[in-house]
């Protein structure tokens, strides 16, 4: 998964087209319920199952991409 794939997931879940590579999910209006929907989309797309704390540590498309790469 690249940064753009993850940005797309953020945009869809947040219903906000303004997401960029360095946009913080929680600053953009995300909450824990919506965060789980990012993580289910990531799992569907690349099979990596992150937990909630992983996402808290990497709440931008860029950071999340690195986190996924480090685990695959």
């Amino acid at each position: 998964m690249d940064v753009e794939d993850l940005s797309d997931i953020f945009r869809r879940v947040l219903e906000n087209d303004g997401v960029r590579a360095d946009s913080d999910f929680f600053v953009m209006g995300g909450d824990s319920l919506l965060a789980t929907r990012v993580l289910s989309a990531v799992a569907r797309a690349c099979g990596v199952e992150l937990d909630f704390d992983d996402f808290l540590e990497a709440p931008t498309p860029e950071a999340l991409c690195k986190k996924i790469a480090s685990l695959t």
């Binding site: 209006g29 909450d31 824990s32 319920l33 919506l34 965060a35 789980t36 929907r37 990012v38 993580l39 289910s40 989309a41 990531v42 799992a43 199952e49 992150l50 937990d51 909630f52 996402f55 808290l56």
Partner: protein, 446 residues
């Protein structure tokens, strides 16, 4: 022109206020010895109140916020900072924020599936949704067995439904679940505290809404007057209570559906307001009062979620300007029925013991209150009636349709924010507008 309003809850009193403001002579008949319906205050210290019933609102609850403004009531934040406590497996554990120690992917898949359902249901007429027939035959419990594979999702689903709509999944149709979640603004809005439907409480207690409405100009409220019969003829309506009867040009029935069905209607209603599948909202609220909110000293917010009862979740409801600490425990769904059957001593023992496990260092409580809404004869459940399989196609088309001179209000008659205070207020406005529109015209012709 004169109108009798049956039920001095938020819906009935909102309708009464709207009618009185237009010069209608309004009499409100209330079965209980108090106004408020499913809002009720408990004074936990002098001047410090907590909500035994409806409590929360969010910024999308515009009719309620406007009403609060008119009544001079303010909001107070519903959230407290700090860590949460969870008892979802063996023992208890502390975590930052509100996210439970469960598989985020499994919960995400569950919310994906729920969101998909919510989007298939029409908000205005759920029974007419494309997929309504199929969704109406299944219960939410059957849906969960079919769609939720991960044990964490199966564990969390009934807790989620309990919190959102005080429902045992076996009691509601999938159609009703999807409708309810949509009506409340979608799963994210309905679930959220900050930025959601639980952002605020009403300073001093939600019961103040009804107390202030009842004290408003032009409204007479009679307590202890359960209505037995509503009989219509060509000239008006006769409303009969134990004490006697009243004549009016029109009536607003603003009580929950199963109570509306206990009234003798003449001529008979074209359709019932509830069926044998309509279940009571299963909510028991427990308030544990401590000398101070000591959990805050341990960095805890008072929020907890437990897989086993009685207290499936707790929240810090300490009065903003007081000294005592109040933990409110929610007992919902099937757990509420079990808890309601226990004796007084056992309820207290179990609730106090569970709170002590969740929040170490708690002193013995100085106050303990249980509000069992299922056992309240004049509410029959809380938050709201739960529509079971078959209910929406049968009840939906008649939800707001006047029966000649009888008009309907109550949160269950609002497809917007059904089950919430906002739905009650909107239904009250609608009923008042209906009557003004119908009878003002007649007055002009007469």
């Amino acid at each position: 022109m004169s109108v009798v309003v049956v039920g001095a809850g938020l819906a009935g009193l909102t309708a009464a206020t709207g009618l009185a403001a237009r010069g209608v002579e309004v009499t409100v008949l209330e079965a209980r010895d108090r106004v408020g319906g499913r809002t009720r205050g408990i004074e936990v210290e002098p001047g410090g109140w907590v909500d035994a019933g409806a409590a929360y609102l969010g910024d999308r609850h515009t009719a309620l916020i406007a009403l609060m403004g008119e009544l001079g009531l303010r909001t107070t934040p519903a959230t407290v900072a700090g860590d949460s406590r969870f008892a979802l497996g063996d023992g208890e554990l502390t975590r930052p924020g509100r996210f439970p120690p469960l598989s985020a992917v499994a919960l995400g898949e569950m919310f994906d599936a729920l969101d998909e359902l919510v989007r298939t249901v029409g908000a205005d007429a759920p029974w007419a949704s494309a997929d309504a027939t199929r969704l109406d035959t299944l219960t939410a419990a059957e849906w969960a067995r079919e769609h939720l594979r991960h044990p964490d999702a199966r564990l969390f689903f009934p807790l989620f439904l309990g919190e959102m709509m005080a429902a045992d999944p076996a009691d509601v149709s999938v159609l009703h679940m999807a409708f309810y979640l949509r009506s409340g603004g979608g799963i994210r809005y309905l679930n959220a505290f900050e930025g959601g439907a639980q952002e605020h409480r009403i300073a001093g207690g939600a019961h103040r809404l009804c107390e202030r409405l009842a004290a408003g100009p032009g409204i007479r409220v009679y307590l202890n007057e359960p209505v037995r019969a509503i009989h219509q003829d060509d000239d008006g309506v006769t409303v009969t209570t134990r004490a006697g009867s009243l004549r009016a040009d029109a009536v607003v029935v603003a009580v929950p559906p199963s109570l509306a069905d206990t009234i003798d209607h003449g001529p008979a209603l074209p359709a019932p307001r509830s069926t044998e599948r309509t279940a009571p909202g299963c909510a028991v609220k427990v308030h544990l009062v401590y000398p101070a909110p000591v959990w805050r000293e341990h960095g805890l917010s008072g929020w907890s979620v437990s897989a086993r009862g009685p207290l499936l979740s707790t929240v810090d409801d300490s009065p903003a300007d007081g000294t005592v600490g109040v933990l409110t425990g929610f007992v919902t769904g099937g757990e509420a029925h079990r808890f309601a059957r226990l004796g007084e001593g056992e309820r207290r023992e179990r609730a106090v013991a569970q709170a002590a496990r969740l929040f170490p260092g708690l002193p013995p409580p100085i106050g303990f209150h249980v509000t069992d809404w299922i056992g309240e004869d004049y509410s029959r459940g809380c938050y709201a009636a739960l529509f079971g399989p078959g209910d929406w196609p049968r009840l939906g088309p008649h939800l707001t349709a006047p029966h000649r001179r009888v008009h309907w209000a109550g949160t269950e008659t609002s497809v917007e924010f059904f089950g919430l205070m906002e739905g009650a207020v909107r239904s009250g406005h609608r009923a008042a507008e209906e009557i003004i529109a119908t009878y003002r015209r007649r007055d002009v012709h007469a």
